[in-house]
């Protein structure tokens, strides 16, 4: 690809009249109630962030109720049962409905702007994620009002959460709420991985990428590997609750600790999933306010990657008191301390950047929140070192000390940076900035309130107060500490209230007068409209607005790439993942309703299942699938056009298949998620064998079916794979219609499903039942996971046949075919691995 020298502008001439109006029309956000169909990242991202913040406020109010109850000993303000529901909903909402969605929302809102892309590559997917999340989240939260809320604590340990000890639907509502956040987190991860790797502006190599984009890329990567563990855990728990497959029941060979391993394998990275992007935000704000590039950019990138990586190696530190062997304790203690080092690097990088500023650090509300964050987060990190010391954790674990510790980490590490973000980036989406005068009050009320609330809790915990107690007796020395904490909580609440009042008074969506009020160096401060930037710049440094004079003007005058809409629709430039050289033009879907309906019906289906209305739930599931199909039908528009000129003599195709296509990348991400899920399953299978080898076949369960069964299933898989090779060859030339390839793909999908069915039938005829013991449950779970993939592949293959029937499938226009094929191959591999595990392992060890 030809690259013009930086100083030559790609489109030096004046732009034709009416071009900007065309862009505005193409990217227009619908008015009135039709705004629900919008997919533009600014509209969706702002709504997403607003809803997440609403959950923050609601869960915060629950916290105030708890503090009211604990203000005095033997208090009767709320009942025991309600209190147990309140702390469960508070924790769950803050972690799952506020923190993760707020970060995703910031990604959706800020990333395209920072990358000067017109939008993220899958705008409807983001919109779908937010609708599923809004519906599921609100239903989950509202259960607190009619005594239906879960009351097992936010980590819902079985056996307490099994039907025997938690009858009723309360625990199922927790699983429902989590189900939605799992869906929207995975959707967000797909969007963000592909967005950061493929839609950067020309010239923005990975080494020039803003730190926030780095942190979001790591965030998405961590979601891919961490969330599947909790997805599996919630599946197992719901299956045990509904059908009695004993994964967690010790008397049938299950183990309650399996839940803890799976949950914390997700749960610890979750903390960094929340914190790393927030640290990324700080790494954006500090250089602007210091007016100096970040000192130690490379170190910070390494620190972010290291923290993300290490965070997967310390989940056991949530389980130090479960009685695991001293050797494991030592290992996980060391790992837990090691993860403090990347945070240390970041803290001192920010301090060095502050020192590097030519003038002294400007004190604005945003910078106050950054400084407040530094103080609070440092304390949280240091108390984290204390709880990582195993013997100390024996005392501190599950006491109020830990409550103090994780609020310092999470409120310090995420909420304070978020408020800094509000003050710093609001001018990007609102005509008015927030009031600086009120901002000082907001900051000091929140900062003092926070410390008054949580600093004494360290002492409360050391003095023996456990967490999750709805009341406590007088005379143990806890009264005044608790009273102080309660007062602090209301001061903190007053600060948040003042912020909300100011936000309501000042927030007016729209364009600001001053495009770059802080004099920042990154691309989100370029002049922008609904279509994002007028043209897409070529960047040569990490702070292009500082280093490339006249950039904002040239961008706004359309002198850079893609100042127009050559395909007549929404589009942006896709660049190579490392060097960011233009590759092709991605044509993106506009506003629509199908994804909204998909979200509504998915949510309804889950909800109806939760209250055990199975038939309506199935109807909604079918409607959801129909909506998905309608949504997806318009996506593969094919290479209908000649390559288009984006300026500077660069001509780009408007359609790609294979590894350079954004849809290929998305499918790879999805397959990684599925593979992580299956790895978590294999871990669970082997783990339960270690705990209860006595229930395994052939001694504790009916002998394995004869090898004919798995051999038959494997043959079906191999046959299916062979058929695919043929199917690829049968795709017609463009303009011709030939259903052979699509039908063979469908045949291969049927083989995959049939292999799964054969496997189940083999075990069933041996007399094994999933409810027999943990072994039986695991054997059938392997098939359940395989059939889940097979079902998706079947639906997709049917879709491909439909495409072929409509003449929308050929050798060139084949993204739907390729994606189905990739998932099919993955499914075959996973099923084969399952056969080896389920039939080979007991024979090998038996």
């Amino acid at each position: 690809m030809m690259v013009k020298p930086d100083r030559d502008l790609p489109n030096p001439g004046p732009r034709p009249a009416g071009e900007e109006d065309l862009l505005k029309r193409i990217w227009e956000t619908p008015k009135g109630w039709r705004v629900l169909s919008a997919v533009n990242n600014t509209a969706v991202g702002t709504a997403y962030l607003g809803i997440a913040f609403l959950f923050f406020l609601m869960a915060g109010m629950l916290a105030l109720v708890m503090r009211g109850q604990l203000a005095m000993p033997n208090s009767d303000l709320v009942s025991q049962d309600l209190y147990n529901q309140i702390f469960t909903v508070h924790g769950t909402t803050m972690m799952f409905l506020f923190a993760v969605p707020a970060i995703e929302a910031l990604g959706v809102l800020l990333l395209p702007q920072m990358l000067a892309a017109r939008d993220l590559p899958f705008p409807r997917l983001s919109a779908f994620a937010i609708w599923a999340y809004v519906i599921g989240g609100l239903v989950f939260f509202s259960t607190i009002f009619y005594d239906l809320a879960p009351k097992g604590g936010w980590f819902m340990y079985p056996p307490l959460t099994l039907t025997e000890y938690s009858p009723g639907n309360n625990a199922d509502f927790w699983l429902l709420g989590i189900g939605f956040i799992e869906i929207s987190a995975i959707a967000g991860a797909v969007e963000i991985v592909v967005g950061t790797l493929k839609t950067r502006p020309p010239g923005m190599t990975l080494a020039k990428m803003p730190i926030f984009a780095w942190s979001m890329l790591i965030f998405a990567g961590m979601i891919i590997f961490a969330f599947p563990a909790v997805i599996l855990a919630t599946m197992l728990l719901e299956i045990e609750r509904s059908f009695g497959w004993p994964f967690f029941s010790a008397d049938k060979g299950g183990d309650p600790l399996l839940w803890q391993h799976l949950f914390w394998f997700f749960g610890h990275p979750e903390v960094y999933i929340i914190f790393l992007p927030a640290a990324g935000l700080v790494s954006m704000i500090v250089p602007t306010i210091a007016r100096h590039p970040l000192v130690g950019y490379n170190l910070i990138v390494v620190a972010l990657i290291a923290a993300g990586f290490f965070s997967f190696g310390l989940w056991v530190h949530h389980m130090f008191t479960t009685g695991i062997p001293a050797l494991s304790l030592g290992f996980f203690s060391a790992a837990s301390m090691a993860v403090a080092i990347p945070s240390g690097i970041q803290v001192f990088s920010w301090i060095a950047t502050i020192a590097a500023g030519r003038r002294s650090f400007r004190i604005t509300t945003a910078s106050l929140f950054v400084l407040g964050f530094l103080f609070i987060f440092t304390i949280g990190g240091l108390t984290g070192v204390l709880v990582a010391l195993v013997p100390l954790d024996f005392q501190l674990h599950d006491s109020y000390f830990v409550v103090a510790h994780f609020h310092y980490v999470l409120v310090g590490g995420m909420v304070f940076p978020l408020f800094a973000t509000f003050y710093y980036w609001l001018p990007m989406v609102s005509r008015n900035p927030l009031s600086e005068r009120a901002g000082r009050w907001v900051f000091w009320l929140m900062f003092l309130g926070f410390n008054i609330t949580f600093l004494p809790m360290h002492a409360t915990g050391l003095l023996g107060m456990p967490r999750r107690v709805w009341t406590y007796p007088a005379g143990l020395g806890w009264e005044s500490l608790n009273m102080i904490s309660t007062i602090g909580a209301f001061v903190l609440g007053a600060g948040v209230l003042l912020f909300v009042i100011d936000l309501v008074r000042r927030f007016r969506p729209g364009e600001r007068e001053d495009q770059n009020p802080w004099g920042a160096g990154t691309l989100e401060w370029l002049p922008a409209d609904v279509y994002s930037t007028r043209s897409i710049p070529r960047v040569a440094s990490r702070e292009p607005l500082w280093d490339q004079p006249g950039l904002a003007k040239d961008v706004e005058a359309g002198r850079y790439y893609l100042p127009d809409a050559p395909t007549g629709g929404r589009e942006t430039i896709v660049t190579t993942p490392v060097e960011a050289e233009p590759e092709y033009i991605i044509r993106m879907p506009g506003n629509g309703w199908a994804h909204v309906w998909a979200a509504v019906f998915t949510a309804s289906s889950f909800l109806l299942l939760t209250v055990k209305l199975v038939v309506p739930a199935l109807i909604c599931a079918v409607l959801a699938i129909v909506s998905f199909i309608v949504w997806a039908w318009a996506l593969d528009h094919g290479p209908a056009r000649e390559p288009v000129e984006i300026g500077g003599g660069i001509r780009l195709a408007t359609y790609r298949t294979g590894p350079s296509s954004h849809s290929w990348w998305a499918m790879i991400v999805l397959i990684l998620v599925a593979a992580s899920l299956y790895v978590a399953f294999v871990f669970s299978y082997l783990y339960l064998w270690v705990v209860s080898p006595e229930v395994w076949a052939p001694n504790g369960a009916p002998a394995l079916p004869s090898l004919h069964w798995p051999a038959g299933a494997a043959l079906l898989l191999i046959f299916g794979t062979g058929v695919i090779v043929l199917a690829k060859r049968l795709l017609p030339e463009p303009g011709r219609r030939n259903l052979g390839g699509a039908c063979l793909l469908l045949l291969a999908a049927i083989c995959l499903a049939a292999a799964g069915a054969v496997e189940i039938y083999g075990h069933w005829s041996s007399g094994l039942r999933p409810t027999l013991n943990a072994y039986g449950a695991m054997v059938y779970m392997a098939s359940a996971l395989n059939l889940q993939v097979a079902l998706a592949v079947l639906i997709m293959a049917g879709f491909v046949v439909g495409r072929g029937f409509a003449g929308k499938l050929d050798r060139e226009r084949r993204v739907t075919f390729d994606n189905t094929l990739m998932l099919l191959l993955y499914g075959a591999g996973q099923t084969l691995l399952g056969l080896i595990l389920v039939h080979g392992f007991p024979r090998a060890v038996g």
Binding site: D251, G323, L389, F394, Q395, D398, L463
Partner: protein, 332 residues
């Protein structure tokens, strides 16, 4: 069986300490056991180190914000990031980790060497069954109170047959979970006479907040005498009211859930009440073990401790209730 002399003064003193309220009766900072003492030292050392680090960050941060141009220029270097963000933490954390692992190792060694006496504690919703072994190896079932001989290591077997609980007596040692299907061992050694308090530390639903217990440390000889008496059958009622209470206990069906050894009551669902009158508390450390509290508990336990598994008995006539309470309080 000969009964060792009753020690009402001790029981009273014990109850007095526990119930008059005493700061530090349930506190990791008022250590009265070997492990708790070691952890407390580790805590103060590690906290001191962390406080020094916090101070360093704040001083450097303040200099970066408001120092002279020369100081700020000196701080604005990657070497600062590497020295303070990378090297310093590695050194400090390695030191702390080594110290902590030594403490951990000492605890593990105590666990390994302890063969002395063993007490099984079963976490229940929402109380503690405590099973001692007497000199002849027989099980002695008690509840909601752990008695320890001064200065002798005792090995606890911690189990649960419903949900996960966690045994935490912070004055004596750190906590350890009670997990269905598993047996966890904790060796503790109390080195101070008197009473401290502990509490379930793993949320176990319902009245988790009211699942507490007392730890009573006695001189070794007294402990042996107490254990012998605890192994004996219940005291025979002596007054008319107590006799009436004993009959009512059986008539009202209390024996379906509770045992009073030496009577027909052989239930195993609720706490063993053979010597309940000698305990510091009832209801898993929610009320003192006196007659008035027994009466309150029997009629009003769902208000005192909501969702606990004992139904309230409100149908008893006032004089019957008093008789029953008098009988239970007499079971020392």
């Amino acid at each position: 069986m000969t009964r060792s002399p009753v020690r009402p003064h001790l029981v009273l003193a014990v109850a007095g300490i526990a119930l008059a309220g005493c700061e530090g009766v349930q506190s990791a900072l008022y250590a009265s056991g070997v492990e708790a003492r070691e952890i407390r030292l580790l805590f103060w050392v590690a906290t001191g180190v962390c406080a020094a680090v916090l101070l360093l960050v704040m001083v450097i941060g303040t200099l970066a914000l408001a120092g002279s141009t020369r100081v700020r220029a000196w701080l604005a270097r990657e070497q600062l990031v590497i020295a303070l963000g990378l090297i310093l933490p590695v050194v400090v954390l390695s030191g702390l980790l080594t110290y902590a692992l030594l403490v951990l190792q000492a605890g593990a060694a105590r666990n390994a060497s302890a063969t002395d006496s063993s007490v099984t504690i079963v976490g229940k919703r929402w109380w503690w069954e405590v099973v001692y072994r007497d000199a002849d190896g027989r099980s002695v079932v008690s509840a909601n109170e752990l008695r320890l001989p001064l200065g002798r290591p005792v090995s606890l077997r911690l189990v649960s047959d419903d949900v996960i609980h966690s045994f935490w007596a912070p004055n004596i040692a750190g906590k350890l979970d009670m997990i269905p299907g598993r047996v966890n061992r904790l060796t503790i050694q109390s080195d101070k006479l008197g009473v401290s308090r502990g509490q379930c530390a793993e949320y176990c639903g319902g009245p988790h907040a009211l699942m507490a217990f007392h730890v009573v440390t006695l001189p070794d000889a007294e402990y042996q005498a107490w254990l012998a008496r605890e192994a004996s059958t219940a005291r025979v009622p002596t007054t008319a009211a107590q006799r009436r209470g004993a009959a009512l206990f059986i008539e009202s069906g209390c024996g379906a859930c509770h045992s009073i050894r030496g009577t027909e009551a052989r239930g195993t669902i609720g706490p063993d009440l053979t010597h309940v009158g000698s305990r510091v508390s009832i209801g898993a450390a929610t009320l003192p073990a006196d007659a008035a509290s027994f009466a309150r508990w029997i009629t009003d336990n769902q208000h005192i401790k909501p969702e606990n598994l004992m139904p309230p008995f409100r149908h008893l006539a006032p004089e019957d209730l008093d008789a029953l309470a008098a009988y239970l309080a007499s079971l020392d």
